[in-house]
Symmetry: C2
Subunit: 246 residues, 2 copies
Amino acid sequence: MKQRLAAIGTVEALPHRVAAFLSREIESGELNPGTRLPTEQQLSEKFGVSRNVVREAIAQLRADGMIEARQGVGVFVLAPEQRASIRIDGEALKATGNMERLFELRCILEAESAALAAERRGQEHLDAIKAALDRMSGEERWEEGSIDADLLFHREIARATGNNYIHTFISFVCEQIRRSIHYARLTNPLHDLVEVNVGEHVRIYEALVAGDPTAAEAAMRAHIVGAAERVGVKLPASRAAHSTGR
Amino acid sequence: MKQRLAAIGTVEALPHRVAAFLSREIESGELNPGTRLPTEQQLSEKFGVSRNVVREAIAQLRADGMIEARQGVGVFVLAPEQRASIRIDGEALKATGNMERLFELRCILEAESAALAAERRGQEHLDAIKAALDRMSGEERWEEGSIDADLLFHREIARATGNNYIHTFISFVCEQIRRSIHYARLTNPLHDLVEVNVGEHVRIYEALVAGDPTAAEAAMRAHIVGAAERVGVKLPASRAAHSTGR
DNA sequence: TTATACATATCATCCTACAACTGCGCCGGA
DNA sequence: TCCGGCGCAGTTGTAGGATGATATGTATAA
């Protein structure tokens, strides 16, 4: 039985499509943990691809810890708790495509990140943050380079928390933001208020230098609300104004 | 030029070993972002394996967003910030201090999540949360089933925020937590204080029913600090006590 | 009944060949 | 000299067969 893999116009690689198909089947619960997948032979016939392609697809799923292959026996679906690694990919988030929600998450993460950074930052962190700030200020308009510098500024703050998980998460969110910005530019003209943007960053930086968690958090919240508005997103007020004083 | 892959006693699959080798080279900075990897042919000769094995290794790295393959050109190293996915593997949790950092991240996400959920939850959300709570209470000891119910409780709260990004992130962290619990159980005996744990959850639930964001956030922070302590992790006090009153 | 040997199924690896794509240089014409 | 088309070499992508390694079930013999 041959089965067409979503015949989109895209030239996406075959292994990726097979992996995505199996992945959906597993996530949706059609294939319960513990069940055995069809053999490589059967899968290659089912999808109309070579076994080689199937093997690469399985390699991807196995790298994600979603399945386990036992030589001479078969390939089995793993339960979430016995997975060796976990992954979030950008595609999963793009589906909702809701910039407002993305900024909301960003606000949560970065506000706390700023507060933690204010308490824990060392001189080297301040230097790195300052360097990013300077790069940002040098730009005339809000171009690609200044977006880079902007996001670097935020990543450096995350790094200053000393918590690698926070750093990883914020880096990830920043990349999503970058893509959203690209998209937003196409739909509605951005207000290139460079000086406003830089001013907000300066206030965050000053709070970090002062080692004042409360001020850093407040400045960060204000900045993200502002940044959201500049790309045409309005955050719910209740959360935006949340816990600025503790 | 043949090169021996770390000849550990383990019978780990060849593709995994190749992927690990390349991964280390990239992480350590020996291969800068933008540089081209040797061709599949060269790699297969270098490692003394077939090209097929090399391809599977590359497939894994590509799934991690670490490299990018362009047909007819070559395979290139991607910069960390342009990776399309984030991944954390279980081994990393065993490093000292990682669990503490993980709980710190969890505290940030879940505290805000609880506050948002208190504002936005509908009746269906409350029902789902209550169902998880009941399942948890039914258990005598802190067994696998109650851990499932516990994490489900938290995921349902995340879902009640109506923000899919938050839900995805918290689900991700929850899986890490599950694993850290498994690991903690092996090293030090857990205090099976079921009633304490359930009590903390009840207080969160009540705050959600009441629609009180402040109380929900406080209850969640108290719970996570308590949960961390029960697996032998002490969160920094400054953050644990943060902004419980706003 | 039990234990050993065999047959089978399946994944793991290797191999060769070809297709698809890219970049670059060669070559002919204006 | 300049320029554009065209083919060639190199690289990844896909196909398919062959063989080795390993686990599982089965049949046979003691």
